[in-house]
Amino acid sequence: MTNHWVDIKNTDLVLIMGGNAAEAHPCGFKWVTEAKAHRKARLIVVDPRFTRSAAVSDFYAPIRAGSDIAFLGGIINYLLSNDRIHHEYVKNYTDFSFLVNEAYTFEKGLFSGYNAEKRNYDKSTWGYQIGEDGFAKTDPTLQDPRCVYQLMKAHYSRYTPDMVSTICGTPKEAFLKVCEMIAETSASNKTMTIMYALGWTQHSQGSQMIRTGAMVQLLLGNIGVAGGGMNALRGHSNIQGLTDLGLLSNLLPGYMTLPGEKEQDYQAYIDKRAFKPLRPGQLSYWSNYGKFFVSTMKAWYGDAAAADNNWCYDWLPKLDKTYDILQVFENMNNGMMNGYVCQGFNPLASAPCKVKVSGALAKLKYLVTIDPLATETAEFWQNHGEYNDVDPAKIQTEVFRLPSTCFAEEDGSLVNSGRWLQWHWKGAEPPGDALSDQEIMAGIFLRIRELYKKDGGTFPDPILNLSWKHRRPDFPSPEELAKEFSGKALKDVTDPKDPTKVLVKAGEQINGFAELRDDGSTACGCWIFAGAWSEKGNLMARRDNADPFGIGQTLNWAFAWPANRRILYNRASCDPAGKPYDATRKLIAWDAGTGKWSGSDIPDFKPDSAPEEGMSPFIMNPEGVARFFAVDKMNDGPFPEHYEPFESPLVSNPMFPDNPVARACPAARVFKGDWESFGKPDKFPFVATTYRLTEHFHFWTKHVKSSAIIQPEQFVEIGEDLAKEKAIKSGDHVRVKSKRGFIVAVAVVTRRLMTLTVGGKKTYTVGIPIHWGFTGVAKNGYLTNTLTPFVGDANTQTPEFKAFLVDVEKV
């Protein structure tokens, strides 16, 4: 989230799209009801299903699953062609005026640089025109046809209301009504919040859907303001913490990235990431990359990391490609892996195409699961009748099950969607032999280190030199780990302006990432968490809910990264002169008297940079402004473009009916052999989408009796028209088939799944909740990912769970 949960109460309009906050985030949804009750805020829900969020909305518009970019692109077109944008904001705080490389083109659904064979882009033309001064060229008059504004206007002019309706199936009037409501928030005293979740991420172009939403918000001037923002609602209580700590195959903590295999040179690695400002007077905060990186390496390797060995840079893996979940199971399926340690993860249930995952697991020599529950993955080898019809005699994988604690059985911090690190305390002792994850990992690590010490082996250095200074080596405590993430000074850290002034003494916890150094004098496990545990103590454990400004900015409640900042880009809530656009929702303002920015939030800005200095609010970007044109940051294009889901009821993309390459995302990775596993609308005519229900949490709560009681049995939702056509009544059992398998479930026939007209054709949607499986106390059922395709987003490789094709028949 750019903003945070409580801040939603400050909004005037809530757009829930690509999410279902009322069902999946009922506690956070409270802030929507607060905004409605106390600010007369309106709620719009755009969703393939009339969800429980829609049930309490002011306006609902149906949309075909997977067509969100068309819808949002249509909104961009509406805002631009009706001139309903926040002029001062876009002109000063975005890349509107930046001139784009002349070689950049977009033709027949493809951006310049496409390599059809490799299915990727050479992104070298996706950039700005750079002047001789090294800065990007701009045209403040916005007249240059190569400026971002003009290119964007042209790009989205194709997204007419008729085209939107054709692609999305949304009735034109409903679409225009949404546009009108949204356009109201272009006023500087009106704002909109967008709440999304897996309904946007789990598509072959999920990242671009989110980008398009963010572009709408930028046009309206709704980023950086209270009650605005792009708000990703995270599913697990600590999934935000997972990405923050870099637990993705290509990340380092704090959104730093692992080097690629061609990046053997340390300095080149740093230089590529420590962006120099692209415009005069800009901060470009990533220019501090080296400080964050060195401090991380010091936290990991302690004294072993030194300037002369490039802080152990050589010990880091250099990636030939990303090792995301799809790639890992592809490798496993190809027999390239011996073992798999599966910690707090149930891939048989939560990865796509169960038959492929199951087959892959069967090729392992060993599988280790670390989980509080008996997961399906841990029992993939066992025959559970129709729900897991495998022959155990043919599966030789040895499975080790290590019972772990669940979050309520341990101390620690959780990072919520609003980036708050909230310390929590153990609520109960773990049952049986369960150990905490860090005990289990420490146990494995210490034994492996012993083996390396004793027997040697290939490349033992990173293991033998790992800093492991825990009071109990077999049980690193949550407090120790939290302090390590927050960081400490190894030597006295002094003020760069006044070397005699010591900011932090050696051995003390640092106050924030501004104190990090690239000379080895600081160690910090995750730079964005810096200051969470300072010499003042554990700030994550703070529980002061004082709200002095009355807009939910409780700065003394827990700790928000970065720097306890609650709303990102909050400089953009003020006009260029530093005056808040809306004084009633003031976040920060320039105080000429003190020469500082101050207010209800920690400024996301250089705190003493006067407005006249011309520094722009998006300090993490080298341009200083927000980007509509993504330059080379996205794999599938600098402007989001609508492509069909890999399985869609349309045989061609209505935008480019003649170009089959531009039907589905041209840059999305598809493994060899998986093309054949995609279904076509002739055999699988219905759009399917999978989702969660409020009664359950993923595949966990089917183990909980009270949750099983309130939603006991697997079902699928079918619209009335389709049910009639197939003679299906509510309560009947139906078989839902995709090209990859089938499930059988109870049919819930409902008016809430509407028949849409897409590309002139009647289109039915089948809704498939995910929560059942073959373990737990709820009625056993099929894993819904039996049905889903093995393809992911072109940038993140998040699987396309939200839009695929099925057929339905009565059993």
């Binding site: 949804f29 009801t33 009750a37 309490v56 609902y60 009796k705 009270s706 309130i710 939603q711």
Partner: protein, 292 residues
Amino acid sequence: MALQSLDIKARSATTTPSPDARANGAIPVAKLIDISKCIGCKACQVACMQWNDLRDEVGNNVGVYDNPMDLTDQSWTVMRFSEVEVQQGKLEWLIRKDGCMHCADPGCLKACPAPGAIVQYSNGIVDFHEEHCIGCGYCLTGCPFNIPRISKKDSKAYKCTLCSDRVAVGMEPACVKTCPTGAIVFGSKVDMIHHAEGRIVDLKERGYSNASLYDPQGVGGTHVMYVLQHADQPELYANLPKDPTISPLVGLWTGIAKPLMSLGIGLAVFAGFFHFVTAGPKEVEEEEEETD
């Protein structure tokens, strides 16, 4: 369930007044359920189960979101989902939390033949004291909302207590405590009516011109009230009765007929007695036989 830490205003099958020396201080309480804010998450159902130590069976899906399908001795509240189109083309999914309404004039209490098995506390909560319940099921006939359920295990009647045990110690009912959206609120009845008025203004401003409070006077008002978007058609909400009253078969019958009938039996006995002492026994004299 039995917990006598609240003052009792009325008891079932009891013809004398309940002790009410302390009644003056009691503030009538109410739970207000704002259906326009309800997201049907069923957290209230789980909170109810957990606080009251109830666990229904893991049932089946029969083609709807409702689960458990109905109130039982183990499910004192359930969400009822209704898909309606009040305005052509505008689908609404109305989700009503069903459970005891805690009538000011409780039909169950009136119908109950077991003294003290059903009580009404001075704050308005109607509670079942199962240890006095004889399991006759008459409370079912008295209830205009079809709420009480007889346990198959112990043949006692059960229903929502409005968490009288929590309220007695100054806490809100478990469902209120857990409701994530504030759709369920609890306080004095006066305050809840006031709160509802604000909600109704908001709903009317959003185009629900018939929004209103559901506090049916046919049962003397209730201590569980709804804010309805379509108060003119409460039946839309899974057949919430429009004008609930205690059935005259229960109300008049228990209130008037039964005492009169009891009196009738007494009178018959007395009539016999007085007939006997006035007319004397009918005796057959031996002579009669002889003269014959």
